[in-house]
Amino acid sequence: MKFLKNIRIVLSILFFLPILVFFLDFTGKLPLALHQFLKIQWIPALLSLNFVVIGILLILSILFGRIYCSVICPLGILQDIIEWKSKLFRKKKKKNRFQFSKPQNILRYSILGVTILLFVFGSSFLVILLDPYSTFGRIVSQLFRPLLIWANNGFAWGLNAVGNYSFYKVEQIAFIPIAFIIAIIFFFSVATLAVKNGRLYCNTICPVGTFLGLLSKISVFRIAFEESTCNRCGSCEKNCKSQCIDSDTMTVDDSRCVTCFNCLSACKRGGIKYDIRYKKHTANQNQAPVDNSRRTFLLASGAVVGSILMAKANNLNPKKDSILSRKPIMPPGAQNINHFNAHCTGCQLCVTKCPMQVLKPASLEYGISGITQPHLVFATHIFCTYDCNICSSVCPTGALQPIAMEQKKLTQIGVAKLRIDMCEVITHETDCGACSEHCPTQAVHMIPYKNGLTKPEVTEDLCIGCGGCESICPVRPYQAIYVEGSQTQAKAKKPEEAKKFDKVIDDFGF
């Protein structure tokens, strides 16, 4: 049965690498179809009600146990890699270093319960924070990707200096403290736990892991001792990164087993096997479950009350210039704020795929439960490209519904607000028109002012909120034109085409 571990490793690499590379790619050269890999993640499938994937994952789990955790979940595989590589840094380079430990039942079932309860009550706060796939996305996009871009830029700098432009500098993603801090906290907790306790994170904190643990208790296949050949050497236990094998009592805690098959490879005598659970009567070795419903209930109610308070705090945001207190601008395809906030897990995929890098993880723009969900932040030359619908086409959770290009060009993610008294043309009586220049629909257009000058005017029906105008407006400290986010993404009017010129010109005119 030793081949099972090898199959697990090969499969996990096949699932892990495309996701990692897709998140890291800053050139936009990888095919967008790779995002299909992300649809097979548990939380995205649940949120987008992808019943095919949910069905497959359920069947897999009921048949084989927590295959998802050992093969599909990128955060799980990241932990395996860290655990594996930590050999290089550990003082005692022992291979067999784990030991059975008791499950953290109170903690893990509480977290699962509170996460579900909060979601039912309308806050995706914990789903966002604890979804392992999204946590992985945040770690890669906030920590690994910037390092890669720095390396690229250093390399490009060297090559450009000698006239080689095969590498070019890429703008570094804006630093968003909250997103960075969340990524770094999770990375270090996950990494530390992985080095010290194997998959303790997956078996304690991760709500997906806990949920799958309930399924793996009844899975058809499971790890079990072969009493006839086992000599209780304890080799399996020492190799169990889930710390769920107790070789003294010859029991395996199925709920924590992630089916990594390390034990099978460790056992030289075939004393532990991966076998069908239901072929004969098994001794009832289930421990009496701890009654923690009361504690769970208390914890959960506390969290529910807390989250309601947090939601209330959203509306308190007193600031001076109206540009500072504007509504957040959701990516195209978000439909409306309730749908978006409830479905987005802040995995950062759209943020990393946005060729303009106009998408940024939110701090508190959507309130506490929307931390790291994407919103648009305009800066010079950074606005939403007219001919682009990448974000909506890669979203694995359905928070952004796919929209066709023609539909995208009419999707009103916001509306430009012009403060004409602040405009350069009015305050300095000079030509500018940068806003209109950047407006793809000419919702912002120039009308006669005086002395041959023209000033901007906005036709709100035509505006799709791309932010071209705001991005280029030279007025400081606050732009004379800015985009107010739409809470519901309405359909803009189709811009009228110019009158065609059909006379023939056959003279130079000079």
């Binding site: 936009g28 700098w157 450009n160 006239g163 432009y165 070019y168 500098k169 703008e171 060729p355 303009m356 010079t380 030359h381 490209t385 007219y386 001919d387 350069e424 300095h428 000079t430 030509d431 500018c432 028109g433 940068a434 209109s436 220049e437 950047h438 407006c439 793809p440 629909t441 000419q442 257009h445 120039m446 041959g452 023209t454 280029i472 030279p474 007025v475 811009p495 085409e497 110019a498 009158k499 065609k500 010129f501 010109i505 056959d506 003279d507 130079f508 005119g509 000079f510």
Partner: protein
């Protein structure tokens, strides 16, 4: 005329320009002292971009007149927008490809093409068709998206703009060509050869804050002027510029206007443009402002203009 103009303006600009080593460099490499017979401007109509360019350059003494063996050449088209060639938001790719090929055939050691784009530069380079045309012709596309590619230069003759950060490709080349497309422009009224200079500069916000037209004219005083301004009017954008909304904004004029003189090229282009969309040239203020700074002349009647109609 170009060289004479240059001497005149250099003298007027005073010692500052004369002492600038780069200005001296240009005069010392001047190879066109005995070319009185060549026209100050060539205007072609009725051909395909490649044929019109080849024909016009023949009138001007051939590409070898401007590009010498081993020269580093830069071509600055308008590639500001993520738009396909049919929308005339960017310079015609066939025109640029042909120019690259001609420069290479004249022995240029390298031909660099770039723009400081408004839209995502990767998409603009690709969708304008210019990247493919340049690469196929043996030229090299260089990015303009990062401040580190730009170095500060003085503009002693500038009024509002005394310094600007200009792309190193322009600073380090032997000769460069300015190849704009003729367009309507919401801000500057029209975008022709001088407006195209905003793509060799890093900080354009300064332009919009300090009288756009004056800053454009100031940039045109930069002493290392292009060998030629090649105004692409094969397709022009008559309205909704500089991006355009649809092909209804585009008019096929199949024309090309070439002159070393910024002001003359823009003046002639405005006259061509006004036949489609009547525009008061004085509203395109940077043209008159540049003339005031001795960048060139609006008086094209006084110039030796060669007009060619191809079938």
């Amino acid at each position: 005329m170009k060289r004479r103009d240059f001497f005149k303006s250099a003298a007027l600009a005073g010692l500052a320009a004369a002492f600038s080593p780069k200005a001296f460099g240009v005069t010392s490499t001047s190879k066109s002292l005995a070319v009185q017979s060549e026209p100050d401007m060539v205007a072609v109509m009725g051909g395909e971009p490649a044929a019109m360019l080849t024909r016009a350059l023949k009138e001007l003494g051939g590409i070898g007149h401007y590009v010498k063996k081993g020269n580093k050449v830069v071509i600055k088209p308008n590639i500001g927008w993520d738009r396909k060639p049919e929308l005339a938001a960017n310079t015609n790719p066939e025109l640029i490809g042909t120019l690259v090929r001609l420069c290479k055939s004249a022995g240029a050691s390298e031909v660099i093409v770039f723009d400081h784009t408004c839209h995502d530069w990767i998409k603009s380079y690709a969708n304008s068709g210019i990247q493919a045309a340049v690469t196929a012709a043996g030229g090299k596309m260089v990015p303009g998206n990062d401040e580190s590619y730009y170095r500060e230069v003085d503009l002693p003759r500038g009024m509002n703009l005394k310094k600007a950060k200009i792309h190193q490709a322009i600073l380090d080349c032997d000769v460069w060509f300015n190849v704009p497309v003729l367009k309507h422009h919401g801000g500057a009224k029209n975008s022709i050869s001088m407006k195209n200079l905003m793509g060799i500069v890093w900080d354009r916000g300064v332009f919009h804050r300090n009288d756009l037209h004056q800053c454009i004219a100031d940039t045109a005083t930069y002493h290392k002027s292009p060998a030629l301004n090649i105004v692409d009017a094969y397709r022009i954008m008559k309205s909704n510029g500089p991006q355009g909304k649809s092909e209804s904004d585009v008019v096929m004029l199949k024309s090309l206007i070439i002159s070393p003189d910024f002001v003359a090229a823009d003046t002639a282009s405005m006259k061509l443009f006004s036949q489609v969309q009547p525009t008061d040239i004085s509203d395109v203020r940077h043209i008159a402002l540049a003339e005031k700074l001795k960048v060139g002349t609006q008086n094209i009647e006084k110039l030796n203009v060669k007009r060619i109609k191809m079938n």
